[in-house]
Subunit: 209 residues, 2 copies
Amino acid sequence: MASAADPAPAPAGETAILQAAIAVMAEHGYHGTSVRDIAVRAGMSPGALYHHFTSKQEVLATIMERGIKALLSRTRSALDGAGDDPADRLRALVAVQVLFHLEDQRGTLLGTSEVRALQEPVRARHLAKRAEQQRMFDAVVGEGVERGVFTTPLAAEASRAIVVMCTGVAAWFSPSGRLSRHEVVQRYQRLALDMVGGPVPDGTRNGMH
Amino acid sequence: MASAADPAPAPAGETAILQAAIAVMAEHGYHGTSVRDIAVRAGMSPGALYHHFTSKQEVLATIMERGIKALLSRTRSALDGAGDDPADRLRALVAVQVLFHLEDQRGTLLGTSEVRALQEPVRARHLAKRAEQQRMFDAVVGEGVERGVFTTPLAAEASRAIVVMCTGVAAWFSPSGRLSRHEVVQRYQRLALDMVGGPVPDGTRNGMH
DNA sequence: GACCCTCCTAAACGATCGTTCAGCTAGCAT
DNA sequence: ATGCTAGCTGAACGATCGTTTAGGAGGGTC
């Protein structure tokens, strides 16, 4: 019964290593983090790490692959349940993108700044998945423009800016800050729709002065 | 006469070290770059580096301090010459922010991902200057909203998103790509004004369907 | 010619790096 | 009891790290 009640069950083995690596690498970067740093934080000796991973590089690769896979999966299922309206679909994309990077801020910092530390061919695979993620935004924005729901002449630029802006929340958000996660999502949905020239709630449209 | 004609005069001494450090550190990060890497690329032996800097850390500090100082200086003088209209002032800020990060893409990558490698008190000073830079955007957006030129209810979020979006160009821009620097500037000016609910040229305003 | 200063090289320093290895322990199957 | 395996410890390995040191080449000044 203790296992269900523990708020932080102090994970062991592979899970402990991955959590420790995310924490330490997010702060000091891949090359700024030693295998000893990771092992100590995971509560084991340096050698024990090599029972679960073949190298420090494989630890990073595992973190990055699972992270991008989870993001792509959540993004796809959000689109699946978003209906047909381009504005709804863009709101769904933004909600997932913002929430994902808010829930795993340290993982996001790793994902954005340590791609360069990945060795091939993992690095190329990772970049391909990031491009795939971007393409889902491009498609939703592009369809909105085709249908006349979005009026921006800068679909490609707006789409890229939206992804960058949503990823950026991981760099400044604080759970004890002024805004809740939900409020951040709502505001970024509005900003995204403003960028593509999409519809916003009655009485609050920009330029209605 | 050769010195004036050489396209790349192969800098020596301190300049060579700084240029080499920016190039190598932008690719592999501070901890992923050795003093030997920097020295070899600068055309000297590792020990020679210590005639110009007291440590590898001081090399990074010099790069970061000069970079943020140049950005702040250019931003301030852009505002000085921008006139009174909030839209013009925001366009001036965006132009500087985009151009600066396009002209020194590698320096930008360093500036955004290696702040964590800076030691105190340089790190704190650097973060303070970054906050100062953000505050200049906040002030321009805030005044535009006060005057009714910008209609967004999300001034703070839009301001932060604009800075993030403009900084982000360093990550994807290619001089041989589809867009010139000038075109990027113009499009990002438009995106920024869309985000704050500002005026855009006649016949192209969003929502005019 | 003597002196100094700038800039450099070559070699070496101790520390720390990623990784390996021999061996110990606890649990489970036979 | 015996054997097997998973998970771990502690010590050690060669390599590379940031930095220091001794000394030399070259140019300007008295």
